[in-house]
Symmetry: C2
Subunit: 358 residues, 2 copies
């Protein structure tokens, strides 16, 4: 039923290997031969069988992107960016949703779910530093996020502390003195929550503001609903605030909802800034100020590092940690008009780790 190279070869009157050579752009082929083969391909509607090629070359041209959920806008936009970057390099992306469950995340690393891809870009949310040995895998891996540092893999992360500090200072620069934070994870030492909270405290310190535990709103999951609940609780408790730093945009949009329900004017009474700069931020009412952690650059760099690993043949290069520049985007919720009001530079760093795969 399916047309194979054999059929094409027969029709063009050449060997099957010559067809292969034409298809793969091997240079030493007479123009006339090449044309004959191409004509035969066209006439028969031949298309190369990827399974056979993959078997022979031990490459699939596929990479996996594992994220918690696509319905979270941050990850949807990240996936969009990763797919586009991979596509530009001629690669295809297969998306794995982990639901942020330990079990699924472990499966992703064990390869049990990595059907037939050449590498993995993984944004863990459930696994943490205690699981670091799971990240010693025998295939090319790029880690995203801030759950796991020092694993034997390339890592693209963001400038959490510096950016969070800058966001907090930005609120302070507007004259706000009672700056709440929403989305904290009490007692956690790792992950975005811990780092951004650390940045928040650093910002307060630099602005000469006291740290008040009353101003810290816990929120385990960073969804809109939890942002709304946490904000509501704080307002119902009568905590006095004049600004809110939400640790991501979903929380911020939820908080905005709660502020509105409490008939509090934003930014008049309370200024609000989020983190991630998802597309939604631009169109909320009022438009949400946010921290752009450099998502496109993250996606682009992650693909680039992964493809480099996949293509590498000789000695393994040292692992790298890359941090894009991040920016504060000021919009209506802090009384601004959409301009970038601050940049925190990133950078690249080589990490000395035991080479566990070679």
């Amino acid at each position: 039923m399916a047309v194979t190279m054999h059929d094409v070869a027969q029709r063009a009157g050449v060997s099957i290997k010559t067809v292969s050579n034409v298809v793969n752009g091997y240079p030493y082929i007479r123009a006339a031969t090449k044309e004959r083969v191409e004509a035969a391909i066209e006439e028969l509607g031949y298309r190369v069988n990827m399974s056979a090629r993959n078997l022979r070359t031990r490459r699939t041209g596929l990479i996996t992107l594992a994220v918690p959920e696509l319905s979270l806008p941050y990850f949807a936009e990240l996936a969009d960016a990763v797919i586009s970057a991979a596509d530009a390099a001629g690669w295809t992306v297969l998306i794995e949703q982990t639901s942020a469950s330990r079990e699924r995340e472990t499966e992703v690393l064990s390869g049990r779910r990595r059907h037939l891809t050449d590498g993995l870009i993984f944004s863990p949310l459930a696994l943490g530093p205690d699981d670091i040995e799971l990240f010693s895998v025998d295939f090319p891996l790029v880690i995203l996020g801030e759950r796991v540092f020092g694993a034997p893999a390339d890592h693209v992360t963001m400038n959490n502390v510096a950016a969070a500090k800058a966001a907090t200072l930005h609120l302070a620069s507007l004259g706000r003195r009672r700056i709440a934070v929403i989305g904290a994870h009490e007692g956690e030492q790792v992950g975005s929550a811990a780092l951004r909270t650390e940045g928040y405290r650093a910002g307060l310190a630099e602005a000469g503001l006291p740290f008040d535990p009353e101003l810290v709103g816990e929120a385990g999951l960073w969804h809109r609903s939890t942002g709304a609940e946490t904000m509501s609780r704080m307002l119902d408790d009568g905590v006095e605030i004049d600004a809110v730093f939400a640790l991501n945009d979903a929380l911020a949009l939820g908080a905005l909802h709660a502020l509105h329900a409490h008939r509090i004017d934003v930014p008049g009474q309370v200024a609000l800034i989020g983190f991630d700069d998802v597309d939604d931020a631009r169109y909320s009412v009022p438009a949400l100020s946010s921290v752009d952690p450099g998502r496109d650059q993250i996606a682009h760099t992650a693909v680039e590092l992964l493809l480099e690993r996949i293509g590498a043949s000789g000695d393994p290069a040292p692992f790298r940690k890359v941090v894009p520049d991040s920016r504060i985007v000021g919009r209506e919720s802090t009384g601004e008009n959409g301009d970038v009001v601050g940049v925190q530079p990133g950078g690249t760093e080589q990490v000395a780790v035991d080479m566990t795969w070679a």
Copy 2:
């Protein structure tokens, strides 16, 4: 380097074929043998080589989902649902972004970009009824959306006219008399815009309201920005309105933004309803009423129909058109609290088309 069945067979002291049988759950194997093989697999860390299996079985276990862009929340949520449904059935999804370009959409159908998947779920946005011959493909295909009807493929769509009519009637039932529509495509006969606009007019008619062209806001792209612009233009032009039906939620959220900028109270002065019921709708300020077209059911049905086609061996079954139930969800933007305030039943229909692939 990689462990193969051969290695496992050697270690377990059985033939390679027996290993294959164990891996594939062939029943006639002595328990002791099976255990030995499984132990060897475990010890050696064997994992089946998908490329080889795919070559041999002529199946890849992958399906493609082609959508315009993941950063559009509707498609992100659809992708989430499709991936989950496929995963539950043991299949993996590869996402192709078409950017709604004719070229990319054509490539998807031609198979030039369908690397190695067993079937395609395709939501076209650029191709239309004039391109129907492109949809005659030689692989299993399920079409989503309302750009193309009558193609030789299964089709999962939504109840556009009935749901749009119901949404319009809902606004009328609140006593609104000047109901604007946003997102219309002047002169188009096909696609969501045409169908939903048709439902809008039917709703007006049934409510005994006149159709006023002034109330029709064109918006080519259904993004927030265009929704905001269209709404602004209408308001700046001094068009008198007391309700807005936005043809999707992105437009609605953009419109909401513009209404807010014009200091118009929603729902006090203007009631607003969208279409799609994306997650955002629940958390906007005010929360957005919307039409839930049955997204989960769409995803689930699409996967089901596709896998049925892929699995089918004998005579091709007739093509089917499936329409899930849709629901009106009333939230703050129409003065309600999140309840479902109306259901429009869907259904399944067998479509007689020439069998172009068999």
